[in-house]
Structures are given as structure tokens and as C-alpha cells.
């Protein structure tokens, strides 16, 4: 067995908590191993110092000590009667407030997202994009506004535009016809 392993048992050997057989093994080992013997002496020497340093005649609890602790506990309990419900309420309010904040964020997002594209069927003919690009010159600004929406969801943006401008487009097409 390795030496380190024996060192492992020396604390328990000193406190006499080892089984008899192991105690005998440790003693046999100590008789041949200088390093472990030195460790045993270190334990005994430091024990001497610590025990010599033991303080005598320290303070003892006064007669009213237990009563003082009970009074302090009572004060804490009274203070808790006021503050704890507030704390509990605050803790309960946290999930509600988080849910409310999330709801507000969703509403705000919906509010500031172009609503023109909201009610459009998901799939439309992208050929309408060409029609959109052929719009008269005055519609350029509106095109810029929609460009972001187009980049996000081309089909829906174009469909929305077509629906909004359907009468004008129809009139334009009729005008082109001979």
C-alpha cells in the first residue's frame, strides 16, 4: 500500500476511531515509515498548541439570555407581519407584470408593423409586382414605404397594394387599351 494512503488514516488513528485491525496496520507502518511518523508528531504537536491556546473563563450566558432571544424573535415576527405580506404580494405580482409587459410589447409590435399587409391571403401571384413597378411617377414615395414590406413579404405587400389601388389600376389599364 502506498505511503500516502497510510497518512490518510493517521488522523483517525489519533482520534482512536479506526477498527482494531487497521489500527494495528497503522502502528506497524509507523514503526518503519519516518514520513508518517513525522506527520503523527505534527498532529500531536499542533494539538498541544491548540489545546494550550484554549481560553478559560469565557463569558457565560446571563440569566435573561434566552428571554432576550425570544423577545428579538418576537420583534422580527411583528416586523414580518407588516413587511412579509408586501413582499409576498410583490413576488406574486412579478409574473403578472411580466405577462403584461409581454402583451404590451406584442401590441406595440402589431401597432407599428404596416397593417396594410395584415389581411392578405398568404399566397398571391408575384406577377403583380411588375404592375406595381409600372405605377405612375407620383406613387414613388409610397413605393419606398412599401419596399421594406416587400422585402419582408413580397406577396402580401403587392396584394395589399393591388387591393388598395385596384380601381385606379383598372382605370389605367382601360386607358391603355386602344
Amino acid at each position: 500500500m502506498r505511503r500516502r494512503h497510510w497518512k490518510h488514516w493517521i488522523e483517525e488513528y489519533v482520534e482512536r476511531s479506526l477498527p482494531e485491525e487497521r489500527t494495528r496496520h497503522v502502528e506497524e507502518h509507523l514503526s518503519v515509515c519516518t514520513e508518517c511518523r513525522e506527520y503523527l508528531h505534527l498532529i500531536l504537536r499542533t494539538r498541544t498548541i491548540v489545546r494550550d491556546a484554549r481560553l478559560e473563563g469565557g463569558p457565560v450566558p446571563t440569566a435573561g439570555f434566552a428571554r432576550r432571544v425570544m423577545d428579538k424573535l418576537e420583534q422580527q415576527r411583528e416586523s414580518n407581519l407588516f413587511w412579509r405580506p408586501l413582499g409576498t404580494m410583490a413576488m406574486k405580482a412579478v409574473p403578472i407584470m411580466a405577462a403584461a409587459a409581454l402583451l404590451l410589447a406584442i401590441l406595440a409590435y402589431r401597432e407599428w408593423t404596416p397593417q396594410a399587409v395584415a389581411e392578405v391571403p398568404p399566397s398571391v401571384d408575384t406577377g403583380f409586382l411588375e404592375i406595381y413597378l409600372d405605377l405612375p411617377a407620383g406613387w414613388g414615395r409610397e413605393a419606398a414605404v412599401f419596399s421594406e414590406a416587400i422585402s419582408q413579404d413580397q406577396d402580401r405587400a403587392v396584394e395589399s397594394l393591388i387591393q388598395d389601388r385596384a380601381p385606379e389600376l383598372k382605370a389605367g389599364e382601360e386607358g391603355k387599351q386602344p
Binding site: K7, H8, E11, E12, E15, S17, Y39, L40, H41, L42, I43, L44, R45, T46, R47, T48, I49, V50, R51, D52, A53, R54, L55, E56, G58, P59, V60, P61, T62, F65, A66, R67, R68, V69, M70, K72, L73, Q76
Partner: protein
């Protein structure tokens, strides 16, 4: 032991009188241990009050099949450690503060090499010198050595108090003892200069 369990169960049920009894039962031991660790008599009462309040608040979590002593010791050790950390008063030994008594003590220790020599004279100056050696250790080491050698707790009990393995406790003891040895050797060198 059985009466202790009954008392604790009554405390857990909110019986204040039972807790007052529990305080009476353990107050002396708690005072003694705090004093050994912090070594400042004026602070003992306040720290003990905090310990018993923490004990009261933590009792609902205490399992009746666990060791109450280890539970209480853990609270004491943590509270004392908090106090020592706040106070930050861990003076390092300087060779200049050696008194003649300390020098004599340290010289006498040098001859202690056999177990039977552990029984030494308990003169006041011996204690002061030993206390100076012990005071030079970090609070955690000091607490561990006091619990081991003054309160005579076993490795198993220490592992329950510090919530760690027996091997870890042995290692910590090994390091603490070696630190104490270093302080002692430093002082001894200073004497011989």
C-alpha cells in the same frame, strides 16, 4: 437524545416555550465555542443571539433523523466566520512581537516529539504564547483546529458540519497543521537569530 428530538419537534410546531428550553440547553456550549473561535468576550452575547435566531428560522428545514449537534455547530461556525471576515482582524505574526514567555514556550515545544509529551504545563504565559501562534492562522484553519482539538469532534462529525467528505476534512486539517507549523518555525528561527 430522545427528549432533544421531542423538543425540536415541538419547536418545529411553533412552540416558543420549547425553543426557550432548547436555548437553555445549548447556550453554554454555544457561548464557549464562539469564545474559542472569535476570542473576543464582548462580542459573544450578540453573536450567540444571532445564532439562536438563525437556528429558530432554520429549524423547519431540520430533519429529525439528522444530527442536531452538527446542524447547530454549522450555524455557529458560519456565524463566527462571517464575524471574523467582517472584522478582518487576522494579525500576521511578526518576529518583533515575541515575548520571553513565547520564546520559552516555543523552545519547549521543539522538544515535543513523543505523544506522551503532549501533556504540557498550563501556565498563563504558555497559553498566551500558544494563542499568538493560533491567532496567526487564517480564521477557517483556526476554527477547524479548535473544533478538532478543543471540542474534540471527530473527522466524521466535522465532515457533517462542513458538509464535505472526510477526505476533504483530513486534507484541510493537514494544511492547517502545516500552516501552524510554519508559523511556529518562523518564530523559532526569530528566537535563534
Amino acid at each position: 437524545m430522545k427528549s432533544e428530538v421531542v423538543l425540536i419537534r415541538r419547536c418545529q410546531d411553533g412552540d416558543s416555550a420549547a425553543f426557550e428550553q432548547l436555548i437553555h440547553r445549548f447556550e453554554r456550549r454555544v457561548f464557549g465555542l464562539i469564545y474559542q473561535i472569535i476570542r473576543s468576550p464582548n462580542e459573544v452575547d450578540d453573536i450567540a443571539q444571532e445564532i439562536f435566531i438563525k437556528l429558530y428560522l432554520s429549524l423547519p428545514q431540520f430533519r429529525l433523523d439528522a444530527s442536531f449537534d452538527a446542524w447547530l455547530y454549522r450555524i455557529v461556525v458560519n456565524q463566527c466566520y462571517d464575524f471574523l471576515r467582517k472584522r478582518k482582524r487576522t494579525p500576521q505574526l511578526s518576529e518583533a512581537d515575541l515575548s520571553e514567555d513565547e520564546a520559552r514556550y516555543i523552545e519547549s515545544l521543539a522538544s515535543v516529539t513523543q505523544p506522551q509529551a503532549a501533556e504540557m504545563d498550563r501556565e498563563l504565559e504558555v497559553r498566551d504564547a500558544a494563542q499568538n501562534l493560533l491567532r496567526a492562522l487564517p480564521p477557517k484553519d483556526r476554527m477547524l483546529l479548535i473544533l478538532k482539538e478543543v471540542d474534540e469532534l471527530t473527522i466524521e462529525e466535522l465532515s457533517a458540519i462542513f458538509k464535505t467528505t472526510k477526505s476533504a476534512i483530513k486534507l484541510r486539517l493537514f494544511r492547517a497543521r502545516n500552516r501552524l507549523k510554519s508559523v511556529y518555525l518562523r518564530k523559532r528561527r526569530a528566537i535563534r537569530k
